[in-house]
Protein backbone atom coordinates (compact mmCIF):
# COMPACT_ATOMS: atom_id res chain seq x y z
CA UNK A 1 0.00 0.00 0.00
CA UNK A 2 2.83 2.38 0.81
CA UNK A 3 4.84 1.94 -2.32
CA UNK A 4 4.39 5.34 -3.92
CA UNK A 5 4.70 8.83 -2.56
CA UNK A 6 1.89 10.19 -4.69
CA UNK A 7 -1.19 8.21 -5.47
CA UNK A 8 -3.83 9.68 -7.71
CA UNK A 9 -7.17 8.28 -6.80
CA UNK A 10 -9.26 7.59 -9.82
CA UNK A 11 -11.93 5.80 -7.81
CA UNK A 12 -14.14 4.03 -10.19
CA UNK A 13 -12.79 5.90 -13.16
CA UNK A 14 -12.38 2.80 -15.23
CA UNK A 15 -15.83 1.55 -14.42
CA UNK A 16 -17.84 4.74 -14.20
CA UNK A 17 -16.01 7.51 -16.01
CA UNK A 18 -18.86 9.97 -15.52
CA UNK A 19 -18.60 10.06 -11.72
CA UNK A 20 -14.90 10.04 -11.31
CA UNK A 21 -12.79 12.97 -10.23
CA UNK A 22 -9.09 12.47 -9.62
CA UNK A 23 -7.82 13.17 -6.14
CA UNK A 24 -4.23 13.49 -5.09
CA UNK A 25 -3.07 11.63 -2.07
CA UNK A 26 0.38 12.29 -0.66
CA UNK A 27 2.09 9.88 1.66
CA UNK A 28 5.39 10.22 3.42
CA UNK A 29 6.80 7.92 6.00
CA UNK A 30 9.87 7.90 8.18
CA UNK A 31 11.35 5.63 10.78
CA UNK A 32 10.68 6.41 14.44
CA UNK A 33 11.93 4.93 17.71
CA UNK A 34 9.77 2.49 19.64
CA UNK A 35 10.06 4.70 22.76
CA UNK A 36 7.78 7.23 21.08
CA UNK A 37 5.00 4.68 20.46
CA UNK A 38 1.90 4.67 22.72
CA UNK A 39 1.82 1.76 25.15
CA UNK A 40 -1.42 0.32 23.76
CA UNK A 41 0.11 -0.03 20.29
CA UNK A 42 3.22 -1.70 21.69
CA UNK A 43 1.10 -4.09 23.75
CA UNK A 44 -0.88 -5.12 20.68
CA UNK A 45 2.30 -5.84 18.73
CA UNK A 46 3.81 -7.71 21.71
CA UNK A 47 0.71 -9.93 21.82
CA UNK A 48 1.49 -11.19 18.31
CA UNK A 49 5.03 -12.29 19.26
CA UNK A 50 6.69 -11.29 15.99
CA UNK A 51 9.43 -13.46 14.50
CA UNK A 52 11.54 -10.47 13.52
CA UNK A 53 12.61 -7.08 14.81
CA UNK A 54 9.73 -4.60 14.83
CA UNK A 55 10.29 -1.47 12.78
CA UNK A 56 8.14 1.56 13.57
CA UNK A 57 7.24 4.26 11.07
CA UNK A 58 5.25 7.47 11.15
CA UNK A 59 3.19 7.98 8.02
CA UNK A 60 1.94 11.41 7.04
CA UNK A 61 -0.72 11.87 4.40
CA UNK A 62 -2.82 14.90 3.49
CA UNK A 63 -5.59 13.92 5.90
CA UNK A 64 -3.98 11.75 8.47
CA UNK A 65 -0.97 10.85 10.58
CA UNK A 66 -0.62 7.20 11.51
CA UNK A 67 1.89 4.94 13.20
CA UNK A 68 2.87 1.71 11.55
CA UNK A 69 4.68 -1.37 12.78
CA UNK A 70 6.34 -3.68 10.27
CA UNK A 71 7.56 -7.16 11.12
CA UNK A 72 7.47 -10.81 10.09
CA UNK A 73 5.28 -13.42 11.67
CA UNK A 74 4.80 -16.99 10.51
CA UNK A 75 6.94 -16.21 7.43
CA UNK A 76 4.58 -13.41 6.39
CA UNK A 77 5.27 -9.68 6.12
CA UNK A 78 2.95 -7.76 8.42
CA UNK A 79 2.08 -4.12 8.61
CA UNK A 80 -0.06 -2.88 11.50
CA UNK A 81 -1.48 0.63 11.48
CA UNK A 82 -2.49 2.68 14.54
CA UNK A 83 -3.67 6.22 15.03
CA UNK A 84 -1.36 8.56 16.93
CA UNK A 85 -3.01 7.63 20.23
CA UNK A 86 -2.21 3.96 19.67
CA UNK A 87 -5.69 2.79 18.64
CA UNK A 88 -5.55 -0.08 16.15
CA UNK A 89 -6.76 0.82 12.65
CA UNK A 90 -5.98 -2.28 10.63
CA UNK A 91 -3.61 -5.16 10.08
CA UNK A 92 -2.40 -6.18 6.67
CA UNK A 93 -0.07 -8.92 5.54
CA UNK A 94 1.20 -10.29 2.28
CA UNK A 95 -0.44 -13.46 1.01
CA UNK A 96 -0.10 -15.66 -2.03
CA UNK A 97 -2.73 -15.96 -4.76
CA UNK A 98 -3.57 -19.50 -3.72
CA UNK A 99 -4.48 -18.30 -0.22
CA UNK A 100 -7.57 -16.55 -1.59
CA UNK A 101 -10.53 -18.92 -1.70
CA UNK A 102 -11.23 -20.13 -5.27
CA UNK A 103 -14.72 -18.61 -5.39
CA UNK A 104 -13.48 -15.16 -4.35
CA UNK A 105 -10.42 -15.43 -6.57
CA UNK A 106 -12.58 -16.21 -9.61
CA UNK A 107 -14.73 -13.15 -8.93
CA UNK A 108 -11.65 -10.96 -8.60
CA UNK A 109 -10.13 -12.45 -11.75
CA UNK A 110 -13.23 -11.91 -13.87
CA UNK A 111 -13.48 -8.30 -12.69
CA UNK A 112 -9.83 -7.66 -13.56
CA UNK A 113 -10.31 -9.35 -16.94
CA UNK A 114 -13.15 -6.93 -17.64
CA UNK A 115 -11.02 -3.88 -16.81
CA UNK A 116 -7.62 -4.73 -18.29
CA UNK A 117 -6.47 -6.33 -21.51
CA UNK A 118 -3.63 -7.90 -19.57
CA UNK A 119 -2.78 -7.84 -15.89
CA UNK A 120 -0.33 -9.39 -13.49
CA UNK A 121 -0.27 -9.43 -9.70
CA UNK A 122 2.67 -7.65 -8.09
CA UNK A 123 1.54 -8.02 -4.48
CA UNK A 124 -1.55 -9.24 -2.65
CA UNK A 125 -2.30 -8.17 0.90
CA UNK A 126 -5.18 -9.17 3.11
CA UNK A 127 -6.57 -6.56 5.53
CA UNK A 128 -8.07 -7.36 8.89
CA UNK A 129 -10.03 -4.76 10.82
CA UNK A 130 -12.21 -5.09 13.89
CA UNK A 131 -11.74 -5.82 17.56
CA UNK A 132 -8.06 -6.17 18.57
CA UNK A 133 -8.49 -9.50 20.38
CA UNK A 134 -10.32 -11.04 17.42
CA UNK A 135 -7.60 -9.88 15.04
CA UNK A 136 -4.86 -11.36 17.21
CA UNK A 137 -6.77 -14.66 17.30
CA UNK A 138 -7.13 -14.65 13.53
CA UNK A 139 -3.41 -13.98 13.07
CA UNK A 140 -2.42 -16.75 15.47
CA UNK A 141 -4.82 -19.28 13.95
CA UNK A 142 -3.99 -18.06 10.46
CA UNK A 143 -7.70 -17.99 9.79
CA UNK A 144 -10.07 -15.04 10.11
CA UNK A 145 -13.24 -15.39 12.17
CA UNK A 146 -16.63 -14.01 11.13
CA UNK A 147 -16.23 -11.16 13.61
CA UNK A 148 -13.50 -9.37 11.68
CA UNK A 149 -13.77 -7.46 8.45
CA UNK A 150 -11.62 -8.57 5.55
CA UNK A 151 -10.45 -6.80 2.42
CA UNK A 152 -7.97 -7.69 -0.31
CA UNK A 153 -5.56 -5.02 -1.48
CA UNK A 154 -3.88 -5.92 -4.73
CA UNK A 155 -1.02 -4.15 -6.47
CA UNK A 156 -0.97 -5.12 -10.12
CA UNK A 157 0.51 -4.27 -13.46
CA UNK A 158 -2.43 -3.55 -15.72
CA UNK A 159 -2.45 -2.98 -19.45
CA UNK A 160 -5.29 -1.11 -21.09
CA UNK A 161 -5.69 0.70 -24.41
CA UNK A 162 -3.33 3.54 -23.53
CA UNK A 163 -0.44 1.92 -21.75
CA UNK A 164 0.70 -0.25 -18.86
CA UNK A 165 0.47 1.17 -15.35
CA UNK A 166 0.69 0.08 -11.75
CA UNK A 167 -2.59 0.01 -9.83
CA UNK A 168 -3.67 -0.56 -6.27
CA UNK A 169 -7.08 -2.22 -6.23
CA UNK A 170 -9.20 -3.07 -3.22
CA UNK A 171 -11.78 -5.86 -3.12
CA UNK A 172 -14.05 -6.63 -0.20
CA UNK A 173 -14.54 -9.99 1.49
CA UNK A 174 -17.02 -11.06 -1.19
CA UNK A 175 -14.60 -10.20 -3.99
CA UNK A 176 -16.45 -7.04 -4.99
CA UNK A 177 -14.41 -4.14 -6.30
CA UNK A 178 -14.24 -1.25 -3.85
CA UNK A 179 -11.55 1.08 -5.16
CA UNK A 180 -8.90 1.57 -7.84
CA UNK A 181 -5.86 3.78 -7.39
CA UNK A 182 -3.34 4.63 -10.04
CA UNK A 183 0.12 4.46 -8.54
CA UNK A 184 2.40 7.18 -9.76
CA UNK A 185 5.90 5.84 -9.54
CA UNK A 186 8.69 7.98 -8.15
CA UNK A 187 11.04 9.60 -10.64
CA UNK A 188 14.13 7.55 -11.36
CA UNK A 189 16.17 9.84 -13.63
CA UNK A 190 19.10 9.68 -11.19
CA UNK A 191 19.16 5.90 -11.53
CA UNK A 192 18.67 5.77 -15.28
CA UNK A 193 20.82 8.63 -16.65
Amino acid sequence: MKTASIIISVGFLLLFPFISKAQHKYEREFRIKSETIPQSAKEFIDSISADSKIKWYKEISLNDITLEAKFKYNKKKFSVEFDTLGKLQDVEFVIKKREISPAIYNKIKSKLDSIYQKWKFQKIQIHYSGKSSHIVDAIRKNEPSDSIKIAYEIVLKGKNLEDTQLYEITFNEQGELKNILLIIQDKADHLEY
Partner: protein
Amino acid sequence: MNIKIKRLLVFIVLISSQHICAQTQTRAGFLPSINYNHKINKLYELNFKLESRHFVFEDNASQSSNFEYNYSLSDVSALIGRKVGLNSKVVLGFLTRIEPEAVSFRTIQQFIFQTKIDNFRVAHRIATDQTFSSNESTEFRLRYRLSAEIPLSGLKVDVKEFYFKFNTEALNSIQDNAYDLELRAVPNIGYVINERHKIELGLDNRFVSFIDNQTRITSWITINWFL
Protein backbone atom coordinates in the same frame (compact mmCIF):
# COMPACT_ATOMS: atom_id res chain seq x y z
CA MET B 1 29.80 -20.77 -1.43
CA ASN B 2 32.34 -23.56 -1.62
CA ILE B 3 35.42 -22.81 0.55
CA LYS B 4 37.76 -23.61 -2.35
CA ILE B 5 36.04 -21.10 -4.57
CA LYS B 6 36.29 -18.51 -1.79
CA ARG B 7 40.04 -19.15 -1.44
CA LEU B 8 40.45 -18.95 -5.17
CA LEU B 9 38.63 -15.63 -5.29
CA VAL B 10 40.76 -14.21 -2.47
CA PHE B 11 43.90 -15.44 -4.25
CA ILE B 12 42.82 -13.83 -7.53
CA VAL B 13 42.03 -10.55 -5.81
CA LEU B 14 45.38 -10.52 -4.01
CA ILE B 15 47.34 -11.34 -7.14
CA SER B 16 45.40 -8.81 -9.15
CA SER B 17 45.86 -6.07 -6.61
CA GLN B 18 49.63 -6.65 -6.40
CA HIS B 19 49.76 -6.66 -10.14
CA ILE B 20 47.75 -3.46 -10.37
CA CYS B 21 49.80 -1.70 -7.69
CA ALA B 22 53.02 -2.45 -9.54
CA GLN B 23 51.76 -0.88 -12.75
CA THR B 24 49.15 1.59 -11.68
CA GLN B 25 48.91 5.16 -12.71
CA THR B 26 46.52 7.12 -10.53
CA ARG B 27 44.70 10.30 -11.38
CA ALA B 28 42.11 12.28 -9.49
CA GLY B 29 39.85 15.22 -10.14
CA PHE B 30 36.37 16.67 -10.19
CA LEU B 31 33.49 15.59 -12.39
CA PRO B 32 30.53 17.96 -12.04
CA SER B 33 27.39 17.35 -14.08
CA ILE B 34 23.97 18.82 -14.73
CA ASN B 35 21.29 16.38 -15.83
CA TYR B 36 18.00 17.73 -17.17
CA ASN B 37 15.09 15.41 -17.78
CA HIS B 38 11.95 16.45 -19.62
CA LYS B 39 8.87 14.30 -20.00
CA ILE B 40 7.24 14.88 -23.38
CA ASN B 41 4.21 12.64 -22.89
CA LYS B 42 3.29 9.29 -21.35
CA LEU B 43 5.75 7.45 -23.57
CA TYR B 44 8.59 9.80 -24.47
CA GLU B 45 11.13 11.80 -22.49
CA LEU B 46 14.25 13.82 -23.24
CA ASN B 47 17.47 13.90 -21.28
CA PHE B 48 20.20 16.50 -21.61
CA LYS B 49 23.47 16.22 -19.73
CA LEU B 50 26.45 18.51 -19.38
CA GLU B 51 29.51 17.09 -17.68
CA SER B 52 33.10 18.30 -17.44
CA ARG B 53 36.36 16.79 -16.21
CA HIS B 54 38.93 18.65 -14.16
CA PHE B 55 42.14 16.90 -13.07
CA VAL B 56 43.87 18.03 -9.90
CA PHE B 57 46.26 15.17 -9.17
CA GLU B 58 48.40 12.69 -11.09
CA ASP B 59 50.64 9.95 -9.75
CA ASN B 60 52.62 7.82 -12.17
CA ALA B 61 54.58 4.92 -10.66
CA SER B 62 57.73 5.99 -12.47
CA GLN B 63 57.33 9.70 -11.83
CA SER B 64 56.65 11.87 -8.84
CA SER B 65 53.20 12.79 -7.61
CA ASN B 66 51.87 16.00 -8.96
CA PHE B 67 49.10 18.32 -7.79
CA GLU B 68 48.18 20.51 -10.69
CA TYR B 69 44.88 21.74 -12.07
CA ASN B 70 44.13 20.69 -15.64
CA TYR B 71 40.87 21.14 -17.47
CA SER B 72 40.34 17.98 -19.49
CA LEU B 73 37.08 18.02 -21.45
CA SER B 74 33.33 18.62 -21.50
CA ASP B 75 30.63 16.23 -22.63
CA VAL B 76 27.27 17.42 -23.90
CA SER B 77 24.67 14.74 -24.53
CA ALA B 78 21.06 14.60 -25.71
CA LEU B 79 19.00 11.43 -25.38
CA ILE B 80 15.43 10.49 -26.18
CA GLY B 81 13.79 7.68 -24.21
CA ARG B 82 10.70 5.70 -25.05
CA LYS B 83 8.84 3.68 -22.45
CA VAL B 84 8.48 0.10 -23.65
CA GLY B 85 7.08 -1.46 -20.48
CA LEU B 86 5.96 -0.49 -17.00
CA ASN B 87 9.56 -0.14 -15.82
CA SER B 88 11.61 -0.30 -18.98
CA LYS B 89 12.65 2.05 -21.74
CA VAL B 90 14.74 2.24 -24.86
CA VAL B 91 17.00 5.26 -25.18
CA LEU B 92 18.81 6.66 -28.22
CA GLY B 93 20.99 9.72 -28.47
CA PHE B 94 24.33 11.30 -29.09
CA LEU B 95 27.15 12.90 -27.17
CA THR B 96 29.63 15.55 -28.21
CA ARG B 97 32.98 15.53 -26.44
CA ILE B 98 34.77 18.86 -26.49
CA GLU B 99 38.47 18.75 -25.63
CA PRO B 100 40.84 21.73 -25.85
CA GLU B 101 42.21 20.55 -29.19
CA ALA B 102 39.71 18.02 -30.48
CA VAL B 103 36.05 17.24 -30.77
CA SER B 104 34.60 13.74 -30.98
CA PHE B 105 31.07 12.38 -31.36
CA ARG B 106 29.35 9.39 -29.85
CA THR B 107 26.12 7.65 -30.77
CA ILE B 108 24.36 5.90 -27.90
CA GLN B 109 21.78 3.10 -27.63
CA GLN B 110 20.46 1.95 -24.25
CA PHE B 111 17.93 -0.39 -22.75
CA ILE B 112 17.04 0.43 -19.14
CA PHE B 113 14.81 -1.50 -16.78
CA GLN B 114 14.00 -1.10 -13.12
CA THR B 115 13.29 -3.62 -10.41
CA LYS B 116 12.52 -3.27 -6.74
CA ILE B 117 13.86 -5.46 -3.96
CA ASP B 118 12.17 -4.50 -0.69
CA ASN B 119 13.27 -0.90 -0.11
CA PHE B 120 15.94 -0.93 -2.81
CA ARG B 121 15.23 0.48 -6.22
CA VAL B 122 17.54 -1.06 -8.77
CA ALA B 123 18.07 0.06 -12.37
CA HIS B 124 19.86 -2.01 -14.99
CA ARG B 125 21.29 -0.31 -18.06
CA ILE B 126 22.58 -2.25 -21.04
CA ALA B 127 24.16 0.09 -23.56
CA THR B 128 26.19 0.24 -26.71
CA ASP B 129 27.98 3.28 -28.07
CA GLN B 130 30.25 4.22 -30.93
CA THR B 131 32.77 7.04 -30.69
CA PHE B 132 33.96 8.81 -33.82
CA SER B 133 36.88 11.21 -33.99
CA SER B 134 39.07 12.59 -36.76
CA ASN B 135 42.37 11.33 -35.40
CA GLU B 136 41.43 7.89 -34.03
CA SER B 137 39.63 4.79 -35.25
CA THR B 138 36.04 4.33 -34.21
CA GLU B 139 35.66 2.85 -30.74
CA PHE B 140 32.80 0.43 -30.08
CA ARG B 141 31.66 -0.24 -26.53
CA LEU B 142 29.24 -2.63 -24.86
CA ARG B 143 28.44 -1.73 -21.27
CA TYR B 144 26.27 -2.88 -18.38
CA ARG B 145 25.50 -0.71 -15.38
CA LEU B 146 23.71 -1.62 -12.17
CA SER B 147 22.43 1.25 -10.03
CA ALA B 148 20.91 0.73 -6.60
CA GLU B 149 19.20 3.33 -4.45
CA ILE B 150 18.80 2.85 -0.72
CA PRO B 151 16.68 5.31 1.27
CA LEU B 152 18.42 6.59 4.38
CA SER B 153 15.16 7.32 6.20
CA GLY B 154 11.88 5.51 5.83
CA LEU B 155 10.91 2.97 3.23
CA LYS B 156 11.44 5.14 0.19
CA VAL B 157 13.14 8.36 -0.72
CA ASP B 158 10.93 11.41 -0.17
CA VAL B 159 11.51 15.14 -0.56
CA LYS B 160 14.08 16.55 1.89
CA GLU B 161 15.52 13.10 2.51
CA PHE B 162 18.93 11.58 1.86
CA TYR B 163 19.65 8.40 -0.06
CA PHE B 164 22.64 6.26 -0.86
CA LYS B 165 23.22 5.30 -4.46
CA PHE B 166 25.75 2.84 -5.78
CA ASN B 167 26.58 2.42 -9.44
CA THR B 168 28.77 -0.31 -10.78
CA GLU B 169 29.53 -0.71 -14.45
CA ALA B 170 31.56 -2.92 -16.77
CA LEU B 171 32.59 -1.45 -20.12
CA ASN B 172 33.94 -3.61 -22.93
CA SER B 173 35.54 -1.76 -25.78
CA ILE B 174 37.05 -2.57 -29.14
CA GLN B 175 39.20 -0.14 -31.07
CA ASP B 176 41.64 -1.06 -33.83
CA ASN B 177 40.89 -4.73 -33.10
CA ALA B 178 42.18 -4.28 -29.55
CA TYR B 179 39.85 -5.30 -26.72
CA ASP B 180 39.81 -3.54 -23.38
CA LEU B 181 37.82 -3.68 -20.19
CA GLU B 182 37.01 -0.86 -17.79
CA LEU B 183 35.28 -1.23 -14.45
CA ARG B 184 33.58 1.53 -12.53
CA ALA B 185 32.36 1.74 -8.95
CA VAL B 186 30.55 4.89 -7.90
CA PRO B 187 29.13 5.39 -4.40
CA ASN B 188 27.00 8.52 -4.00
CA ILE B 189 25.13 10.32 -1.27
CA GLY B 190 22.09 12.09 -2.65
CA TYR B 191 19.55 14.55 -1.32
CA VAL B 192 16.09 15.29 -2.73
CA ILE B 193 15.72 19.06 -2.56
CA ASN B 194 12.16 19.12 -3.91
CA GLU B 195 9.97 17.29 -6.43
CA ARG B 196 12.18 18.48 -9.27
CA HIS B 197 15.74 18.78 -7.94
CA LYS B 198 18.21 16.27 -6.56
CA ILE B 199 21.84 16.75 -5.73
CA GLU B 200 24.46 14.02 -5.36
CA LEU B 201 28.02 13.91 -4.10
CA GLY B 202 30.07 10.85 -4.87
CA LEU B 203 33.31 9.19 -5.79
CA ASP B 204 33.57 7.83 -9.34
CA ASN B 205 36.33 5.22 -9.41
CA ARG B 206 37.40 3.96 -12.84
CA PHE B 207 39.75 1.07 -13.38
CA VAL B 208 40.89 1.35 -16.97
CA SER B 209 42.88 -1.03 -19.18
CA PHE B 210 42.50 -4.19 -17.15
CA ILE B 211 43.48 -6.31 -20.10
CA ASP B 212 46.64 -4.70 -21.45
CA ASN B 213 48.43 -4.68 -18.08
CA GLN B 214 48.72 -0.89 -17.89
CA THR B 215 45.93 -0.32 -15.42
CA ARG B 216 45.05 3.26 -14.66
CA ILE B 217 42.89 4.24 -11.72
CA THR B 218 41.02 7.48 -11.99
CA SER B 219 38.98 8.77 -9.09
CA TRP B 220 36.62 11.63 -9.56
CA ILE B 221 34.77 13.59 -6.95
CA THR B 222 31.37 13.84 -8.59
CA ILE B 223 28.73 16.49 -8.03
CA ASN B 224 25.53 15.71 -9.91
CA TRP B 225 22.56 18.00 -10.15
CA PHE B 226 19.38 16.41 -11.49
CA LEU B 227 16.60 18.75 -12.53
